[in-house]
């Protein structure tokens, strides 16, 4: 089977499991909801203010919620030594990574699609700039979080304090991506600046780290 065929099967399996159990989606959704409500209490902004801070709030909420899903990426494969079985099989490791990353991308996108209306309602948001740009930023930004997140989850699952480790190694590396997402979103919402630079930066970030992840995944998954 080719790299893509294996990736497709693994992705289909993961999505089917998720569809039946809804473990990751439910915990992620509830967590994001809590973050939205707590932020809303703590800041209580006017419409004008909320446009300025919404970019930050939205992405911080998505980031925290994404960590919940990312942490569960590999946990399922550890039970019954599925991961070890995968490693001794001739299937390429890269397909496994791609399947997991795309799976997480879908999960986080679903979360974003469901949470955005809530943000609009709670923060009384209305975009001044063109909305399609927000969509592009969401796709680029989500991939930026998810691609490194999936990789680092594979690292953190092998450490002593599994769940805590992921944000500790993911957040520092993701700072430029987060900065780009927040600033791009804010510039579209307020309509005061062009998000061009930040979108280009996100695209470069995505490209660079997707390459590094694909190059190093085989090494990391086979680390003994």
């Amino acid at each position: 089977m080719t790299v893509m065929a294996v990736a497709r099967r693994t992705l289909a399996k993961d999505l089917r499991l998720e569809w039946r159990a809804k473990d990751a989606v439910n915990s992620m959704l509830f967590f994001a909801l809590l973050v939205v409500v707590i932020f809303s209490f703590s800041f209580d902004p006017t419409a004008e203010e909320s446009r300025r801070i919404a970019g930050g709030l939205v992405w911080v909420a998505f980031l925290f919620a994404a960590v919940v899903a990312l942490n569960q990426t590999w946990a399922r494969e550890l039970r019954n030594q599925v991961l070890d079985a995968y490693r001794v099989s001739p299937a390429p490791a890269v397909s496994l990574f791609l399947a997991k990353a795309v799976g997480n991308f879908i999960l986080v996108s679903v979360l974003e699609a469901l949470m955005t209306p809530l943000f609009i309602v709670f923060y009384n948001l209305r975009s001044v700039g063109p909305v399609y740009q927000l969509l592009v930023i969401a796709v680029l930004g989500t991939w930026a979080l998810v691609v490194n997140g999936t990789f680092f989850a594979a690292i953190s699952i092998r450490t002593r304090s599994r769940e805590i480790m992921l944000p500790l190694i993911l957040f520092p590396i993701s700072i430029p991506a987060l900065l780009a997402m927040v600033d791009a979103t804010t510039s579209v919402l307020t309509g005061e600046a062009s998000p061009r630079f930040w979108m280009q930066l996100l695209a470069v970030y995505d490209l660079v780290f997707t390459t590094v992840c694909l190059a190093l995944f085989d090494t990391v998954i086979n680390a003994e």
């Binding site: 070890d84 490693r87 001794v88 490194n148 990789f151 680092f152 690292i155 092998r158 450490t159 002593r160 304090s161 480790m165 500790l168 190694i169 957040f171 520092p172 590396i173 700072i175 430029p176 900065l179 780009a180 600033d183 630079f197 930040w198 930066l201 470069v204 970030y205 660079v208 780290f209 590094v212 190093l216 085989d218 090494t219 990391v220 086979n222 680390a223 003994e224």
Partner: protein, 251 residues
């Protein structure tokens, strides 16, 4: 015996360089026209920053070397350079605000250079945290992978943060028109750079030897735990022995 001699010699040279650099920085270098004596912190701030960046680069190279060759030496060097680099970077982050407060009137500002140095510091601290929490022989591979991610991130961090306004002075050295240092200041900078570089190398050497010793102790413990029959197959450190070794060959 020879090693003790080299070590003593190294220590003496470092002490001599640091003492002379201190004299250069505090006595020989002229007082700066507008900032006054506070500016002398520059002779510590800048060399530490350069040494820290150099060490992070060393960490990156050693990590690649480890992934290619899988030698414990490469990993020990990566660990030593990251630890010492974080110490030097901490000194930069402490001396910076000490200097900024009297000169700019603020301790900290989210300016390009300050922020990227802080992010750099965060990345390498997270590297050290990972090393602390990972278990067994896989630590080295995981750490090397993270080191590569961290280093690749540095230019992106710098690019993204430069987009903010910049308060930090443009490079004084080779920065363009109107920049430049008094020759006596130059010599203070270079002597301090030499002194602290030598100090950093000394620390790295010690830390590197310590890391190698730690590895040797760990291996000895593992061999002992496996019992006498293990010594005949000493090449296999796998304690459980159930799973076949896959993909662990050096490439």
């Amino acid at each position: 015996m020879k090693r003790t001699f080299t070590f003593t010699f190294f220590v003496l040279v470092t002490l001599g360089l640091l003492a002379y650099a201190l004299y250069q920085g505090l006595v020989v270098a002229p007082t700066e026209a507008t900032m006054g004596d506070v500016q002398r912190i520059f002779y510590y701030h800048l060399p530490h920053a350069w040494v820290a960046f150099l060490l992070f680069f060393t960490n990156f190279l050693a990590s690649i070397w480890y992934l290619v060759r899988r030698t414990g030496r490469a990993d020990a060097l990566a660990l030593a350079s990251a630890e010492v680099g974080v110490v030097f970077c901490t000194v930069v982050l402490v001396t910076g605000p000490l200097w900024a407060r009297p000169v700019w009137g603020i301790w900290w500002t989210w300016d390009a250079r300050l922020t990227s140095t802080l992010v750099l510091w965060l990345i390498y601290v997270s590297y050290l945290v990972l090393r602390r929490f990972a278990t067994g022989a896989q630590t080295q591979v995981l750490a090397a992978a993270l080191a590569i991610f961290g280093f690749v991130d540095v230019p992106i961090v710098y690019l993204s943060i430069r987009y903010f306004r910049t308060q930090h002075p443009q490079p004084v050295i080779a920065g363009g028109e109107g920049s430049g240092l008094d020759p006596r200041m130059w010599s203070a900078v270079l002597w301090n750079l030499a002194g602290f570089l030598s100090f950093a190398l000394l620390l790295i050497w010690l830390r590197y030897r310590l890391a190698l010793a730690e590895n040797a102790v760990e291996e000895a413990h593992a061999d002992r735990a496996l019992g006498p029959e293990a010594e005949t197959r000493a090449a296999k450190p796998e304690a459980r022995g159930a799973a076949p070794e896959v993909g662990n060959k050096p490439r």
